[in-house]
């Protein structure tokens, strides 16, 4: 029997795989938002299961800032810059999506032997979902050429690490959790501002073409 928490994080991992299959930024950002909402949901369920009130606070922050704030911010950026579609790099989106699905399966194999604390029920699913999100994020970073796509890939990796922490530990210290969230948000904001500057200087945001400094 799969618990609610595991269902939520597995849904998030599947949504991330779907995201790889499309190059439309709007759809990508929408899927990222829903994926993060699922993770916020998993956080609420974990808070219930462990009786940890501080996790509710984290869940609210994730739900508002990461699931709604960040996608809106990136959407506004892409609309201002008038870019709606990524160019794609290395492999085509359908192929990349299948690769993510293979990696999704592979993460189950990889995490089979990870020891989980006794209090965590069925920790295996959570660990697999986390690692799968991490892989998917890497695939997104490798198959996107636009700066916004790269940021999105990084955010998916971060989600994966969060899911891993949520399902494999009995709650990280609150101070650390807050610090991580703050750092990530500031990082995304700085990158978002940089995207504007790149557009202004280079008249495009294709980071694969930033090769002036290559030796």
């Amino acid at each position: 029997m799969i618990s609610g928490i595991n269902l939520c994080v597995l849904c998030a991992a599947v949504l991330a795989c779907l995201m790889v299959g499309s190059l439309h930024l709007r759809l990508n950002l929408f899927l990222y938002g829903v994926e993060t909402l699922f993770i916020a949901g998993a956080t609420v369920l974990t808070a219930n299961a462990h009786g940890d009130a501080s996790l509710i606070c984290i869940a609210i922050l994730i739900g508002t800032l990461k699931a709604l704030g960040v996608p809106f911010f990136l959407l506004r950026t892409s609309e201002k810059l008038n870019v709606h579609r990524d160019v794609g790099a290395m492999i085509t989106p359908p192929l990349a999506m299948h690769l993510s699905i293979v990696l999704f399966a592979l993460s189950f194999v990889l995490t089979r032997n990870i020891p989980t604390p006794q209090l965590v029920v069925n920790g295996w699913y959570g660990a697999a979902a986390g690692i799968s999100l991490l892989f998917t994020g890497l695939v997104v970073m490798l198959t996107r050429r636009l700066a916004i796509g790269q940021i999105l890939g990084f955010l998916v990796i971060e989600n994966g690490i969060y899911v891993f922490a949520l399902t494999q530990t009995l709650g990280m210290p609150m101070l650390v959790e807050m610090g991580i969230l703050l750092d990530m948000l500031v990082g995304v904001m700085v990158c978002g501002v940089l995207v504007f500057k790149i557009q202004k200087s280079f008249e495009h945001i294709d980071v694969a073409l930033l090769t002036n400094l290559k030796e």
């Binding site: 020891p115 991490l134 990158c191 400094l213 030796e215």
Partner: protein
């Protein structure tokens, strides 16, 4: 406790002042004054630790410094102070000699970013919690991005983007490693788990070995990216070469130490467990490999600051070997000598670039004719950084090689020796080309003594460090 708050409050106050004050001259002066106050406060704070009166200074549950952290704390603030003292001269010369107009707003932004950057670096050494250590390291990335972006041209933009992306993804892996270490403490070692360094060290033997090993590898990978370990170093030469000279000096002299110190913190923990072999073999071999790769990259360099950036990577490799050997003393000795010489080199390179109006190594010739003081200082500091006797780096490298040989790391010692030889030859050739010959075109003129003040003081420091450390190799290392 008061001193701890002073250390946190001083940079914040400076940053607020630099952001508010419209008069750039007073910002320059007050930041210089403030950063030296910071150095003095640090020295007072860690005094008891260096005297040996205490082995740990605890401020709050999650903030404390031990002896090795204290040494690095002082070094970092000293490096920042030297760089920021030189910065006003650098900015004045940018407009007077190189003819580049720097808007006061950009310069104030530089001071705000660098003070916050210094604050974040201080937290790296004061954090007694692996989670907060990670948060501080990530904060250094964000604040220093403002420094790399300083010149606001295409190259700076590209370097900043690469820096942010590569380091953020790298550090994300360190976060995963930190979480794995946290998870390893939940299997009976600590009730509910802990990230506190002292608590973890206290129960190192009872940590879950598999999770701890995985955590160690991810931390090494993550913080290694930030330290510029081969092949994850791609951001480093770009960022160091595009940042203004005082910022490059801080990036190389202080930031790399922070990342390596994070690796040291984790290594220190794993060393106490039964699985300590993993934190010996991997860092030693990887460090030697990094030094070799950097040595090979040094041969074909076209930019003067890229040259020093690759030399920093080489030194990072050597320091990683020291970490693998489990010797905080050797790690600090190498870091100290490298930081001081490298800060001087980056500051001098800033002057040279202003003279010649280019970063291109093939265009920089005849420095001894143009400015003998600058030429001699460059030669001294370059000799120091390559590990020539009688400078301090020679002694540190000698001890590291000796200790690696004692630890039966034959292959790594051989690789390290080849790397040191290659980089010595490469740097010597590049530097002699810079020094001799005659300038290829008309130069920007004027020279004031103030531009050599900080580099010459640092140059003297390297010699003194070398001479005072000689007894270390005369007695057999413990």
């Amino acid at each position: 406790m008061e001193l701890f708050f002073t250390l946190c409050a001083l940079p914040v106050a400076g940053a607020v002042w630099a952001a508010k004050c419209q008069h750039i001259e007073s910002v320059r002066r007050s930041v210089t004054l403030l950063i030296w106050l910071q150095v003095i406060a640090t020295a007072f704070l860690i005094g008891p630790l260096l005297h040996g009166d205490a082995s740990l200074l605890r401020f709050t549950a999650d903030f404390a410094v031990d002896r090795s952290a204290a040494c690095f704390l002082l070094l970092t603030n000293f490096v920042a102070a030297c760089s920021l003292t030189h910065a006003p001269t650098f900015f004045r010369n940018e407009s007077e000699i190189a003819g580049k107009i720097i808007p006061p707003l950009h310069e104030r932004f530089f001071y705000v970013s660098s003070l916050l950057f210094v604050l974040a670096m201080n937290f790296v050494f004061m954090a007694d919690n692996l989670g907060l250590l990670w948060v501080s390291i990530e904060a250094t990335t964000i604040f220093s991005a403002g420094l790399v972006y300083f010149s606001r041209d295409k190259h700076a933009l590209e370097a900043t983007w690469k820096y942010l992306m590569v380091c953020s993804v790298g550090i994300a892996f360190a976060l995963l490693g930190t979480i794995l270490i946290f998870a390893s403490s939940q299997h009976g070692a600590v009730d509910g788990g802990s990230l506190n360094v002292r608590t973890l060290i206290g129960c190192a033997g009872r940590l879950e070995p598999k999770l701890l090993e995985l955590g160690y590898i991810f931390c090494l990978l993550g913080y290694g990216t930030k330290a510029g370990i081969f092949p994850l170093h791609t951001w480093l030469p770009d960022a160091h070469s595009e940042a203004p000279a005082p910022a490059s000096a801080m990036l190389s002299g202080a930031l790399l130490n922070c990342a390596l110190f994070a690796i040291w913190r984790v290594t220190e923990l794993v060393k106490l467990t039964e699985h300590h072999a993993i934190c010996e073999a991997i860092p030693i071999f990887w460090g030697a490999l990094t030094a070799l790769a950097a040595g090979l990259f040094l041969v074909h360099q076209y930019g003067i600051k890229r040259l020093w950036a690759y030399s920093s990577i080489e030194n990072v490799g050597i320091m990683l070997v020291a970490i693998g050997l489990g010797s905080p003393m050797l790690f600090f000795l190498q870091a100290l000598n490298h930081s001081i010489a490298k800060v001087a080199l980056f500051l001098l390179s800033g002057n040279i670039i202003q003279y010649f109006g280019t970063k291109d190594l093939s265009q920089i010739r005849g420095l001894l004719k143009v400015s003998p003081t600058c030429g001699i200082l460059l030669a001294v500091c370059a000799a120091s950084v390559t590990g020539m006797p009688p400078f301090g780096a020679f002694i540190a490298e000698w001890l590291i090689l000796a200790k690696s040989a004692d630890a039966m790391q034959g292959i790594s010692v051989a690789i390290l020796l080849i790397a040191l030889a290659i980089s010595f030859v490469a740097v010597s050739i590049h530097v002699s080309r810079i020094l001799w010959g005659s300038p290829k075109h008309e130069l920007n003129q004027t020279s004031t003594i103030s531009r050599y003040l900080v580099p010459s003081l640092l140059g003297i420091c390297t010699i003194v460090l070398g001479l005072t450390a000689i007894p270390l190799i005369l007695v057999k290392p413990q």
